[in-house]
């Protein structure tokens, strides 16, 4: 067994450097020697530079003195700074409709309106969505050159989430997996669209975006504040009562009675269901994710990812279950979620 494992390790295909990178490194090895020689020559000219440098420093000090203490004539930034009140963000998760990004399941569209200037990083804190990326070119949308995260931002986000009490401690622990992006510092309206893979998204409503504002002030001081924004979801869904289900050859056939939610303030959920008179059959592949309510924890409604055998079992036990069926343009079922009706 150990030998097998050793073979497996040794035979694993390993990444290799790109040819262009190799060429660059080869060139830098060649260049290095000439740099070494140049360094020797440079040592003699350095003294001259030091003397010239000292004279220059005196002038710089005088100028810096003016800049630091004359805020009126030498403001550190041009234009007004952004404040939390001057920042408006609207973020919406939608099913991915971009054919070029067909390997991604969802897209997040963000509209940001800034009435002031300032550096920033924006972090989506999304449950069940991972591997953020951008399409190559999308007209009307800003595309940042890179994405990333840093420890200081993660601390700010953690503090913001704890103070706002919007999510459980367990999820806050996961935020080291965050990835942020930036938009330009200048005031204006920016639209950004990014794409995600489904790693357990079930429309929990527990989706956020944290804007981290950073602005350099005098003496290296950095002003930072954060703004937490709730992310909306725009995924069409229908409500149905699952009467029976059958699993065969990787497909699931569901016997459903579709229903319409009628708003009614007197009902515990704020609506009641008006059922269709007929039952329809819906066939889907077994891989369509389904989430059931975890009845073992009543502190709040929470969900567990289930397999279809469990759904069939619960349907048989209960006689029926209520489902919310989320679809992409009424063509493809994205996922299903049990709903609770008291």
């Amino acid at each position: 067994m150990n030998k097998d494992f050793e073979k497996f390790l040794a035979k694993t295909r390993k990444p290799t450097m790109e040819r262009s990178k190799k060429e660059e490194i080869r060139k830098s090895i060649q260049r290095y020697q000439s740099m070494e020689e140049e360094d020797k020559k440079d040592r003699y000219t350095n003294l001259k530079r030091v003397i010239a440098g000292f004279s220059g420093l005196a002038a710089v000090f005088l100028f810096a003195f003016l800049i630091i203490f004359d805020d009126e004539n030498f403001p550190i930034t041009t234009g007004s700074s952004l404040t939390p009140e001057g920042l408006q963000i609207e973020a919406t998760i939608k099913p991915n409709r971009n054919e070029e990004m067909s390997h991604k399941d969802y897209m997040l569209e963000v509209i940001i309106k800034k009435d002031g200037n300032g550096g920033n990083m924006i972090y989506p804190v999304l449950e069940g969505l991972s591997n953020m990326s951008w399409a190559e070119r999308e007209e009307g949308f800003f595309s940042p050159g890179s994405i990333g995260t840093n420890t200081l931002d993660e601390e700010s986000i953690r503090d913001t989430l704890i103070e706002s009490e919007v999510m459980g401690v367990d999820r806050i622990k996961d935020i080291s997996q965050l990835m942020g992006f930036y938009i330009p510092e200048e005031a204006g309206e920016y639209r950004v669209r990014m794409y995600f893979e489904d790693t357990g998204f079930f429309n929990s409503g527990n989706q956020y975006l944290v804007y981290v504002h950073k602005e350099e002030k005098r003496f290296g001081h950095e002003e930072r504040w954060t703004k937490l924004v709730e992310v909306n979801t725009e995924i069409p869904s229908t409500t149905a009562i699952l009467e029976d289900a059958e699993l065969h050859d990787g497909n699931v056939t569901l016997q459903l009675t579709f229903a319409e939610k009628i708003e009614d303030g007197s009902q515990p959920n704020g609506f009641y269901l008006e059922k269709d008179s007929v039952t329809s059959a819906l066939s889907i592949i077994e891989e369509v994710p389904v989430y059931l309510i975890n009845y073992s924890d009543w502190s709040e409604i929470n969900y567990i990812k289930a397999n279809w055998e469990e759904v069939i079992e619960r349907t048989k036990e209960e006689g029926m279950i209520f489902l919310e069926i989320y679809e992409k343009d009424q063509k493809e079922v994205l996922f299903m979620k049990e709903i609770y009706l008291p």
Binding site: A10, Y32, E100, S133, I147
Partner: protein, 169 residues
Amino acid sequence: MDKKQIITNWFDEYGDDIYQFFVYRVGMKDVEDLVQEVFIRALHHYESFQGNATPKSWLYSIARNLAIDEIRKKSRDRWKIFFVGEERKMDGIETPDDLLTRSEVNKELYKAIHKLKPSYRDVIILRGLKELSIQETATILDWKEEKVRLTYHRAKQTLKEKLGGSIYE
């Protein structure tokens, strides 16, 4: 042969080995700067290279020290940058991202190696992935050969547990 030519030959021979060491050890895929630094350091300290180590072992030792520094630096102020051009693939070139994420086995192994403690990670990369001898591994890590054997054995067990068994069977 002048030292520039010797180091260039070493780079041609061991460049990819050092690159793979960094990818698995540091946990980043853009490690070309570190690879370059290894060979620049080798050039700079060439006079101190002793014949009692092979060039390969010597280069791995430099790489390991650099990897430790890099990880320390990362943990002080972690700034993980990933270029957005994830979707922009170059024709015909297999990037580390492709290789490490295309195959589920590679991805799982890569992730599992990162969950190991540093000493296990070192020995798994050198002995397991790079198939260096016990003696070479001991020289690079500055350990006794017995320690290499024992640590490698434990590291394999831990890695197997993290992989869950089914992936390599």
